[in-house]
């Protein structure tokens, strides 16, 4: 298959574009998502290519956007909606949680909600507290939802294609900090653009990366790092900085979770560090930690460590103190390496 270098925005755009070309039941809408192509340009040119009724602007009503998508999904369409920032998903929470997630179950399979809710999320762009949050654990807790978070252009396209084709509602969080290039967490140092990364070679045609499969980003024998989104790159930098032979796993999908890959890795390394941007308390890291403890306890050489955002609102001026960076990951790695029994 022909490939082309793409950043994550282009890869996501290509996923929707390819699906729209293939399936007339796919349409895309959201605030500023039509003519203008979205404030991050993920839906750029889709209206021009596929027409006004297939890619259009929506009122500033996240609840209305998701509710309309649910109705369309029940009709038989596969709407892909954009919530401009994940911080704005809360007005739509009731529709996502009480309606989309429960549709198949409560109707005995008569009605389904095959919708994709895309939303830029996470920090590292100086967005302040209303443009930086990571609300994934509010959705991983909800039966009936799938939660997907890519960390690179290749996965972004393949996973978004899978999400659109999925018969269940998928909450698809796109790490804003990775839209234009990977980020290794050393914010004062220049970061390489996507075009220097292998994972930016993206097939121009359709392909699918299965939902529910993690990707081993770096093999290692001493410790397993579980991460997703922007934190995958921070974890890689942290491992290098600490000089530890860490195995870095990009979860890619939080629900359903690839428990086999996690279990096999932790049993091999005997140590586990979990990294995410969201606040620590009741974050997804708590769930990961419990699962690893349940399944790998007798293989563990040290307590499981979590490197996360703080339990504060996301601050503007203190972004780099809040945002987990390679130094904190390295510290955690060193701690678990020395915390053997």
């Amino acid at each position: 298959m022909t490939t082309a270098p793409m950043n994550m925005i282009q890869a996501l755009n290509s996923a929707i574009d390819t699906k729209m070309a293939e399936d007339p039941n796919v349409l895309s809408f959201g605030e500023d998502a039509g003519y203008f192509g979205g404030v991050f340009r993920v839906t750029d040119q889709l209206q021009q290519k596929h027409g006004l009724t297939r890619s259009f602007d929506a009122p500033i009503s996240e609840c209305g956007i998701v509710a309309a998508a649910i109705g369309m999904g029940a009709y038989g369409l596969r709407p892909v909606v954009e919530i401009q920032f994940a911080d704005y998903i809360y007005p739509a929470y009731d529709q996502i949680v009480s309606e989309a997630a429960k549709m198949r179950y409560r109707s005995g399979g008569q009605f389904t909600s095959p919708i994709t809710i895309r939303s830029p999320y996470g920090g590292g762009i100086f967005g302040g507290q209303t443009h930086s949050q990571s609300p994934e654990s509010l959705f991983t807790h909800i039966a009936g939802l799938k939660v997907v978070i890519p960390s690179n252009p290749y996965d972004a396209k393949g996973l978004l294609t899978a999400a659109i084709e999925d018969d269940d509602p998928v909450v698809f969080f796109e790490p804003k900090r990775l839209y234009n290039g990977p980020f290794d967490g050393w914010h004062e140092k220049p970061v390489s653009p996507w075009k220097t990364q292998e994972l930016a070679q993206v097939p121009t045609g359709k392909y699918v990366e299965p939902i529910g499969k993690a990707r081993v980003m770096r093999e290692g024998s001493d410790v397993t790092i579980l991460a997703y989104g922007t934190m995958v790159w921070v974890a890689l930098a942290g491992a290098e900085h600490a000089g530890v032979d860490a195995e870095v796993i990009d979860l890619r999908t939080l629900v359903p979770l690839d428990i086999e890959t996690i279990e096999a890795s932790v049993k091999k390394t005997g140590r586990c560090v979990i990294v995410h941007e969201a606040p620590k308390t009741s974050g997804f890291g708590g769930e990961l930690s419990a699962l690893v403890q349940e399944r790998c306890f007798y293989h563990l050489e040290a307590p499981i460590a979590r490197v996360t955002g703080w339990d504060t609102p996301y601050p503007h001026a203190f972004e780099w103190e809040y945002f987990p960076g390679p130094q904190r990951v390295a510290d955690a790695l060193k701690a678990v390496m020395s915390g053997g029994r």
């Binding site: 297939r54 609840c63 309309a68 109705g71 029940a74 529709q95 198949r104």
Partner: protein
């Protein structure tokens, strides 16, 4: 320094009567039957603002159909409508009793509101999609959905069509144009708009119809729905069933004293009709008007159906705690079944004897269905396999559900 202005005071609206008071409906001013004009369906919403404040009525006090909204229905259609309303009431009676007998956990009657779901369910096709609340059981009954299946859900027995997962009255019947009901009020109105948008997007000919109570119009979903319906000219009928009571809160708490619920449409540029919800013919005519408008690409209509919730909100409610006991009997717009019966008698198409017979027949139908359903089991006597608890959470079970199902041992 003292200011020569009054101190502020907070107003909390109160209804016209509380327990022990005599019912007082003197504040209600209704147009007489036949008085409200019937605009062309192509009328611009701003040219028909009056319709949001007046009341479309067809049946007069003598049971005659009068005025421009008379849909001039075939007597056979009227008889079918009457019988469906009678059957709905008989069903409600038996299920309410079944709750008192401990056969189910919960029930909700639609007493006094039967004309709404029955008429609207008869007008629209099963291909159209209804997004009902829990008081539109008349729609299923009018369309001949098996009463025993409804009861199987009410009893959560082994044959419950949705496998014991929902409250008794939250039906789901795709083949009958009946969307799965949500207990979260108002959520389904913008979904109906989305469904209608999908039909329009596909160049199809189906429309959607939704219902919401007067109380739930205060939810943001209702207003989101009106915005989307207006913006995208969705082919949808948006009903507000103003039955005066949201559990114990009278319609004034939802803003019903400041304006009419129909008038909420005006700010969105949608046409509004305010209709006597206890008048089968008026409900029919207004719905037909809105249907034609939707099907001819002219967009949505908001219909306020003015009625009264005669029964308790649910089996868990006691209305004698918050409203005059006999308020329902004094409702100035009467009883929808009595009014349609009277009309058919005036037409020479019905009689008191036929009414008695129809009521007996309805009780018999409900009894027969009851026997069939109770043979399968009432609440706790039989239920779907516990295995089904883990099914249909997703299209396919993931490892968590497989493991948890095994933990339960099924």
């Amino acid at each position: 320094m003292m200011k020569n202005t009054p101190t502020l005071s907070l107003r909390v609206p109160e209804p016209s009567g509380r327990p022990g008071d005599a019912p007082d409906f003197s504040h209600l001013q209704f147009d007489p039957a036949g008085a409200v004009s019937r605009p062309e369906v192509s009328t611009a919403p701003y040219e028909m603002r009056d319709h949001a404040f007046r009341l479309v009525r067809v049946l007069d006090d003598e049971g005659q159909a009068v005025g421009p909204w008379d849909p001039k229905l075939d007597p056979e259609v009227l008889r079918r409508g009457l019988k469906a309303m009678i059957l709905t009431r008989a069903f409600d009676e038996r299920m309410h009793r079944a709750h008192r007998q401990g056969k189910t956990s919960f029930y909700m009657k639609c007493t006094g509101e039967e004309a709404i779901a029955v008429a609207q369910g008869m007008i629209l096709s099963r291909e159209d999609m209804g997004f009902p609340t829990y008081r539109q059981q008349g729609l299923l009954i009018a369309r001949g959905y098996p009463l025993a299946s409804m009861m199987n859900q009410i009893y959560s027995n082994a044959e419950d069509p949705i496998k014991g997962r929902q409250l008794p009255i939250m039906y789901s019947a795709k083949d009958y144009g009946f969307f799965t009901i949500s207990g979260n009020l108002g959520t389904q109105v913008p979904q109906a708009v989305g469904w209608a948008m999908a039909s329009a997007y596909k160049g199809d000919d189906k429309i959607a119809i939704s219902w919401i109570g007067d109380g739930a119009t205060a939810e943001g979903d209702f207003h989101n729905a009106l915005t989307f319906a207006a913006v995208y000219r969705a082919p949808v009928i948006l009903n507000v069933v103003n039955n005066q009571w949201a559990i114990s809160s009278f319609m004034g708490i939802a803003g019903g004293l400041e304006t009419t619920f129909a008038a909420k449409a005006i700010g969105y540029g949608l046409p509004a009709l305010r209709v006597d919800g206890n008048d089968f013919l008026a409900v029919w005519a207004a719905t037909q008007w809105a249907e034609e408008r939707a099907r001819t690409n002219q967009g949505a209509t908001v219909i306020e159906l003015f009625t009264y919730r005669g029964a308790p909100h649910s089996t868990s409610d006691d209305p004698s705690r918050y409203r005059p006991g006999d308020e329902h009997e004094k409702w100035p717009l009467g009883d929808p079944i009595e009014r349609l019966k009277q009309h058919l008698i005036v037409l020479g198409e019905w009689s008191d004897e036929l009414q008695v017979e129809a009521e007996k027949d309805a009780v018999e139908q409900v009894r027969a269905a009851g026997k069939e359903s109770e043979a399968i089991g009432t609440l706790g006597q039989s239920r779907p396999s516990v295995k089904t608890m883990f099914e249909e959470v997703y299209a396919t079970e993931d490892w968590r559900l497989v493991e948890q199902r095994r933990e339960v041992g099924v």
